[in-house]
């Protein structure tokens, strides 16, 4: 097919939109089957997520988490690496955040704690991604399988730390002690309150701003630095990149370390920003959702921020939905998430040929007409 005649916006806007609409359409069928009018459901979700300031706060709080896990998946995608281990990397980063908060939080002031927490989260996340990256680069083991296994290994290690090491002696629940206040990232409502803006108390915290900064930095890194160029070059054509003198081992390690670091930042939002203690399974699937976010955002930071807000909306709206319709489980959001991954990821190319054909037909018809007029 003459791909030159297909403009970019077909590929970047129309095809993804068709895929997402398809996902929403199938979810609407699920809603109908469950006995809920999809329009009503959408209204409830919209009200719950954007209708009042508390809803907004929760939506953006969830979105912050998705920005990190989504960026993590996308940067690996740019290097043709599939980092399915965001879940484990974020979980393991929680250990770094917890250790720094618990052991240094009483000693160090707030302004020293913040950079330390960022470093700890990034380092632990990157470290957990580095081992699979090393095994892929040096030993040729498949990164998908290794990162899956590392998710489970992280779960076991974290369970051990929570039950045997970090749990306060008198407590029964597998949770760490509450972090000292100097390691808490300020909530958005407190921060804005200091400047005289009133906002309802929500878990939304300053990590949201950090997330946006990270999105800008990822964009700059990938498209405006030498390393970013090398990552994309290797992802685009590994043998050409190698021929051009790009070291595949170095680039694989670099990509995965950055990817793991971004996934690790998830711990800042959830632990330092809201929970203030390490809990069992605190990542709760957000690492896996990062795959959907990244696919939906077409691996571009702008798209990922938008997709994150959409997923934040789905999570917050979904919680509201389960509250409003007692028959519905909030798991319905999981179904929608699965459908989005299916249609905008696995079935990415299903509509592409027919949409392209349709476009060519439409423009071809116009071209014929113009020709006729000119003659």
């Amino acid at each position: 097919m003459s791909s030159q005649r297909i403009p970019g916006w077909i590929n970047y806007a129309v095809v993804p939109l068709a895929n997402i609409l398809m996902a929403f359409f199938v979810s609407a069928l699920v809603f109908v089957y469950v006995g809920v009018d999809p329009i009503d459901a959408a209204k409830v979700m919209w009200e719950g997520a954007f209708g009042y300031s508390e809803g907004w706060g929760y939506t953006l709080y969830y979105a912050t988490g998705f920005i990190f896990t989504g960026l993590a998946v996308s940067i690996a995608f740019h290097c043709q690496l599939f980092n399915i281990g965001g879940e484990g990397q974020a979980y393991f980063a929680g250990l770094g955040v917890a250790l720094v908060s618990l052991y240094l939080g009483d000693v160090l002031p707030f302004w020293l704690m913040m950079p330390l927490l960022i470093i700890a989260a990034g380092l632990f996340g990157a470290g957990w991604a580095f081992i699979p990256a090393y095994l892929q680069a040096k030993r040729g083991s498949h990164i998908v399988i290794t990162t899956i296994m590392f998710n489970f290994i992280a779960a076991s290690i974290m369970a051990y730390f929570l039950v045997e090491v970090l749990k306060p002696p008198m407590s029964m629940a597998p949770e760490s002690a509450v972090f000292p206040v100097s390691s808490w990232i300020p909530k958005m409502h407190d921060f804005l309150g200091a400047f005289g803006y009133e906002m309802t108390a929500t878990p939304l915290n300053l990590t949201f701003i950090f997330g946006l900064i990270c999105a800008v930095l990822v964009w700059f890194f990938l498209w405006n630095t030498r390393w970013g160029y090398e990552i994309r070059a290797q992802g685009f054509n590994p043998s050409a990149a190698k021929y051009a003198g790009i070291d595949p081992i170095k680039i694989t390690l670099l990509t995965m370390a950055v990817s793991g670091m971004l996934a690790g930042f998830f711990a800042l939002n959830t632990l330092s920003g809201d929970m203030h203690q390490l809990k069992l399974n605190y990542v709760a699937g957000f690492g896996f959702t990062g795959i959907a976010v990244s696919l939906m955002g077409r691996n571009h930071p702008v798209g990922i921020v938008l997709a994150s807000i959409l997923f934040g909306f789905l999570y917050q709206g979904g919680a509201e939905l389960a509250f409003e319709f007692p028959g519905i489980d909030s798991k319905i959001i999981v179904v929608l998430q699965g459908l989005i991954i299916l249609f905008s990821g696995a079935l990415e190319y299903m509509f592409k040929p027919s949409i392209e054909k349709l476009y060519l037909k439409a423009t071809g018809w116009r071209a014929d007409k113009e020709e006729a007029q000119n003659a």
Binding site: I153, L342, A346, L347
Partner: protein, 328 residues
């Protein structure tokens, strides 16, 4: 001594048999799929879907066998979805697998709540709605009267449901099909060098779909065992609990071969059995063994094996690569 033998050797081996059963079936399911060149990280989702289908159908009809049929039909459908995305539309096999796993985890809970209104669980089954244990002739007598060896027959081999025996029967059958039939030869060829198979006039697409049907059937058995064939008699949300990934690990551990994969499943099943057995048990001189470390051994072993530190696990050459006829 006899007591120790019974509680530390016989009982763990008995649980190993049960715990390994779904793993063996799933590993075989994954083997057919991956040998044909289709990566299958959707085993987890297939297991969960089959468990839900079998428990639901058995609860409604009261027949465990109808449950099995429903499970097989469901997993074949799931496998066809995977095939439609990855074979017909050449989508990414890992993304498709992830989508299926997430989709199934959600939809089983939604439907379970809608149909049975028990928070996502299905009703507890009795009688013919589940597969009952079969006692071998004279099992109780032999176990009582023959020391040591008697309990091997009476406890480990006897007393399981027909599903467990079917599962282990699948191992030699799969081995025969894969290595001694024309279908098996073509299947392996499609996974290694699809272009050559195509040149020989065999449809790569059809072979891969067939492999996925076989995969679906085996996964249907696995889910049925999990929900109504073993110690449980109902579906519970997320009851697959990572077993699909463990089976994948066992498959790699067994280097994509049926008997070796079964050995991998036995190893992982035994580790799980001991992890359960050792929970909170004080051992003289060591104290309690952190169960978490036993639980993580299968994953660590798989990583080490994949990295080639002990032996080498080479996947089928064309696994994960969608096949297109036109050359670029």
């Amino acid at each position: 001594m006899l007591d120790f033998w019974f509680s530390w050797v016989i009982l763990p081996l008995d649980s190993m048999m049960r715990l390994s059963t779904p793993l063996v079936l799933l590993a075989l399911a994954g083997m057919f799929s991956e040998r044909s060149g289709v990566v299958n990280i959707a085993l987890e989702g297939k297991l969960l879907a089959a468990a839900f289908a079998s428990a639901s159908a058995a609860a409604v009809t009261g027949s465990a066998w109808i449950g099995l049929l429903a499970a097989i039909a469901t997993t074949i459908m799931v496998a066809m979805l995977h095939g439609f995305a990855t074979i017909t539309h050449k989508g990414d096999q890992i993304v498709s697998g992830m989508a299926i796993n997430i989709l199934v985890a959600g939809i089983t809970v939604i439907l379970g709540r809608l149909w049975f209104n028990q928070g996502g669980q299905t009703p507890n089954l009795r009688g013919d709605a589940r597969f009952q244990g079969i006692d071998f002739p004279g099992a109780a007598w032999i176990q009582e009267n023959v020391p040591f060896v008697g309990s091997v027959y009476g406890e480990i081999l006897s007393g399981h449901s027909v599903m467990l025996y079917l599962a282990y029967l699948m191992v030699p059958i799969s081995w025969y099909v894969l290595f001694h039939t024309r279908f098996g030869l073509r299947l392996r060829a499609v996974g290694e060098n699809p272009a050559a198979v195509d040149t020989a006039g065999i449809s790569v697409v059809a072979m891969r779909y067939k492999a996925l049907v076989v995969c679906g059937i085996l996964a249907g058995f696995a889910g049925t065992y999990l929900a109504i064939g073993g110690n449980t008699a109902q579906f519970m949300p997320n009851m697959s609990a990572g077993k699909g990934y463990i089976a994948l690990a066992a498959l790699i551990f067994g280097k994509w071969r049926p008997v070796q994969a079964m050995m991998g499943c036995f190893l992982f099943g035994l580790l799980e059995a001991y992890a359960i057995r050792l929970q909170g048990v004080e051992i003289m001189g060591i104290g309690t063994v952190p169960v978490q470390f036993i639980e993580m051994v299968p994953y660590v072993l798989t990583v080490v094996l994949l990295a080639g530190f002990i032996g080498r696990a080479n996947p089928p050459k064309s696994v994960g690569v969608p096949y297109s006829k036109e050359r670029e």
